[in-house]
């Protein structure tokens, strides 16, 4: 039969055909039982061996592409952070963003993977061993073939999860910008991707105690963003503010961005990256993906609009970088529940995150005297926390406002507090320890000169107007 043949051709073909079903039915030459199609779509691993193979391949290739999008977020974070800081630290900022991904992936592969997926049920801390067992196997574990079959090969899974580990690591870069020693940033990278982040992941995605309690965090409002945000907060507190950030009267002073266009390009790249981050977290290529993508889109747009309004009201002008923070706040906040939420709650979650991100950033600076040059704490810690709480309120059938009572909300609060406690204590020891032995922060002279020269020996931007026009005059042959 024509339809059967197409279904064998792959899930995508079946999905496309689903839209054409009414037309086909009217033609009368093909009878299709819609319930059969529905069953095939829901029960994804049924049919012939060829059908199953197609589904598995589609799942793996989709998650690979989603992982590429999540890795692309590195560019977004880098541009956002470099744009919102000063030109004299631009090479250092880009270098930190590059190396937290490069070193982070290696460390996550070496030790993080075994901690994140220790194979326990309900545990707090476990270690499956070094490295990534089964990484070179081309096929997923076929022993569990059936309706609940997990279709991803280890390499697909690792690629996607390593991108997330790199994301958690790089969140901190902006908050500690313009004053952290490069070597201490590398040490931090090793610890967050090798211990701090993987343990949090094991609690939920690794099947640990939070997962057993029914904790909801679909794509990582808590596991990724709250973790990165709290690490950012601890780093910014323990480092102290940049020289000149607070006047003698204690009032915060502006240290203006050197390139708003770079920063907002970064925001827009992150916007795109989140369409790998959230839809990819389905860990399969099924028909939930476009819905998750649209809800992600709505939350982001509502977040930018919320921050636009609150910055306009609170600051008298629609602040550009705050609106960028608002878009990200919407994206971060919707991660937790984007697979099990309705349209209006998704809009509310993003909008509230956007409204809140502006006063949160101002409060951190004005009341607590914490210098976070890019707003990472407000975006990732505050919106990540809100995302977890929002899941307790709006999860379909389980949330407080969806007729589910307070049980889930309590679990969400518990999970959020546990993540905050673990990350605050571990990063507190980490940053505090490095401060105690004097390797956390560059010297005041180095800070004033800029980290490009003091840490890396060359500026991010050559400021010589003749560069490239008279090189023979400019390049010395010293040494």
């Amino acid at each position: 039969m024509r339809f059967k043949m197409l279904l064998g051709g792959g899930l995508v073909a079946a999905v496309l055909l689903l839209g054409a079903l009414p037309a086909l039915a009217q033609e009368g030459d093909t009878t299709v039982d819609v319930t059969v199609v529905e069953a095939e779509l829901v029960e994804r691993f049924t049919g012939t061996a060829a059908d199953i193979a197609q589904t598995v391949i589609l799942d793996n290739i989709f998650i690979f592409i989603a992982g590429v999008l999540v890795f692309f977020m590195q560019a977004g974070f880098a541009l956002l952070a470099v744009g919102l800081t000063r030109a004299k630290n631009s090479a250092n900022m880009m270098m930190k963003s590059l190396m937290d991904a490069a070193l982070g992936v290696l460390v996550f592969g070496l030790v993080g993977w075994g901690l994140a997926y220790p194979g326990f049920v309900g545990g707090w801390f476990g270690f499956a061993g070094w490295g990534v067992p089964g990484l070179m196997d081309r096929l997923p574990d076929l022993s569990a073939l059936g309706p609940d079959f997990y279709p991803l090969s280890v390499s697909t899974d690792f690629f996607f999860q390593a991108a997330f580990a790199a994301t958690a690591a790089t969140i901190v870069a902006g908050a500690v910008a313009e004053r952290t020693k490069f070597v201490s940033y590398l040490i931090y990278t090793v610890l967050i991707t090798g211990l701090i982040y993987p343990v949090v992941v094991s609690w939920k995605w690794g099947g640990g105690w939070l997962d057993e309690r029914g904790f909801v965090d679909f794509a990582g409002s808590g596991l990724v963003h709250l973790t990165g945000g709290i690490a950012a907060l601890m780093g910014a507190i323990i480092l102290g503010p940049r020289i000149g950030k607070f006047g003698a009267d204690g009032k915060p002073r502006a240290i203006p961005a050197h390139s708003i266009p770079l920063a907002l390009t970064g925001v827009m790249i992150l916007f795109i990256g989140f369409f790998g981050f959230n839809p990819g977290s389905a860990l399969k290529a099924d028909m939930s993906v476009p819905v998750i993508a649209v809800l992600t889109l709505f939350a982001a747009c509502a977040g930018a609009t919320g921050a636009l309004i609150s910055s306009w009201v609170l600051l008298k002008k629609p602040d550009v970088s705050m609106a960028g923070n608002g878009l990200l706040a919407g994206l971060v906040s919707i991660c937790a529940v984007v697979d099990t939420v309705d349209v209006v709650p998704a809009l509310i979650i993003g909008f509230v995150a956007g409204i809140v991100v502006v006063p949160a950033a101002l409060l951190l600076e004005r009341a607590f005297k914490v210098d976070d040059p890019v707003g990472a704490v407000a975006v990732h810690a505050v919106s990540g926390f809100w995302g977890l709480i929002a899941a307790g309120l709006f999860t379909i059938d389980e949330g407080l406002f969806e007729g589910g009572g307070t049980e889930l909300l309590v679990t969400q609060v518990l999970g959020a507090l546990a993540i905050i406690a673990w990350v605050a204590v571990t990063t507190g020891i980490l940053f505090g320890g490095m401060k105690a032995i004097g390797i956390l922060r560059v010297s005041p002279a180095e800070e004033l000169e800029g980290l490009d020269l003091s840490e890396h020996g060359a500026p991010g931007y050559s400021d010589d107007v003749l560069a490239g026009m008279g090189e023979e005059l400019l390049v010395s042959t010293k040494g």
Binding site: P252, A254, P256, L315, K316, D319, S321, M322, A361, E365
Partner: protein
């Protein structure tokens, strides 16, 4: 011999001034992006909720070397083209040129203007 006319003008006045000078027969000018303050002072800007003062405002420094007899009229041409009537329009001054040499031809003095 020759006089150098130096003017500090608003950046957005440059096109008008340049066109006026060309129309008046001035054969060449040199401009520099400059910053400074005068009676206009600086202005305040806002970044992420904190106000800050920009003390030095962007200006264009324009220089033209002209025959002594033309100096006053060139200065007047610049002034007419650059005037908005608001504070911050800039200033014009002249100085005698001690010596002048056209690099390509080696011409000296008046011939090099």
């Amino acid at each position: 011999m020759a006089t150098i006319v130096t003017a500090i003008i608003r950046p957005h006045s440059l096109d008008t001034v340049k066109d006026a000078l060309k129309a008046a027969g001035v054969t060449g000018i040199t401009i520099t992006e400059a910053k400074g303050f005068g009676r206009q002072g600086g202005h305040t800007e806002t970044y992420r909720g904190s106000e800050y003062t920009v003390e030095f405002l962007p200006k264009i420094k324009l220089e033209a070397i002209v025959p002594d007899d033309d100096a006053a009229s060139v200065a007047q041409t610049i002034a007419d083209a650059a005037r908005t009537g608001n504070i911050g329009d800039g200033k014009i001054w002249t100085l005698p040129v001690g010596s002048l040499l056209r690099i390509r031809t080696g011409e000296l003095g008046d011939e090099a203007v």
